[in-house]
């Protein structure tokens, strides 16, 4: 799920990051629906337009810091 949106986002990232660092992009398929300051606004438009269909909301950053987990019950 979200493979098309993810590939599209990664292709668009160099262009998006020129002027939108820190903002959130809403993507459906291979289309940018909008760019938002707040993640909640991007989600709201996504739910309003696409209801239960999948869409991608992603923050625009030059380098994505991984999340870190020290708990050994995580099995990967």
């Amino acid at each position: 799920m979200l493979d098309k949106e993810t590939d599209f986002f990664e292709k668009q990232l160099p262009e998006l990051s020129k002027t939108n660092i820190g903002k959130y992009v809403l993507i459906k398929g291979e289309e940018i629906i909008g760019i938002f300051i707040a993640v909640q606004d991007a989600l709201m438009i996504g739910y309003q337009q696409f209801k239960k269909e999948p869409f991608l909301v992603k923050q625009i950053v030059r380098f994505e810091e991984p999340l870190n987990f020290t708990n050994h019950s995580l099995i990967i």
Partner: protein
């Protein structure tokens, strides 16, 4: 400020655990037209984990709640680096009836143990967490 205190039989052994309820976010429910009462819910045991950058739910719970992922993130765990995993927009309800109406959580497989959710530093960033070891209790306020 809402506050809850939990007493655990052996907090050193079990950790600061509490029962929470997960449901789709309020934003999702409002826009889909489902009331909070009718929303699918999942009751699970969570542990407060200061070693977690953000909150994690057991793999498969998003699907149980009938929601799609809204994004993805990369994670480093004790055994792997840069694992790509889905993120979901959920609401989290605590035993004292306080709740977080929208929270983006990461889905990862949690093994064996009884724990199905790690409450991470994203929630702790707006909370006070007091671990009282000698009393086998902890308090979470936010």
């Amino acid at each position: 400020m809402a506050s809850l205190t939990q007493r655990i039989a052996n907090i050193q052994q079990l950790g600061p655990v509490l029962e929470v309820v997960l449901a789709p976010s309020v934003l999702y429910l409002k826009n889909i037209g489902i009331s909070v009462e009718d929303a699918p819910k999942s009751k699970l045991l969570a542990m407060i984990d200061t070693g977690a950058t953000s909150t994690v739910i057991q793999a498969g719970i998003g699907q149980q709640l009938g929601i799609n992922p809204i994004g993805y993130s990369f994670s480093n765990t004790p055994s792997h680096t840069k694992i790509k995993s889905y993120q979901f927009d959920i609401q989290l309800l605590f035993p004292n009836d306080s709740h977080i109406s929208s929270l983006i959580v990461t889905e990862l497989p949690l093994q064996g143990q009884h724990i199905q959710c790690l409450i991470g530093r994203d929630i702790l960033s707006f909370a006070v967490f007091i671990y009282t070891g000698y009393d086998n209790s902890f308090t979470l306020s936010f």
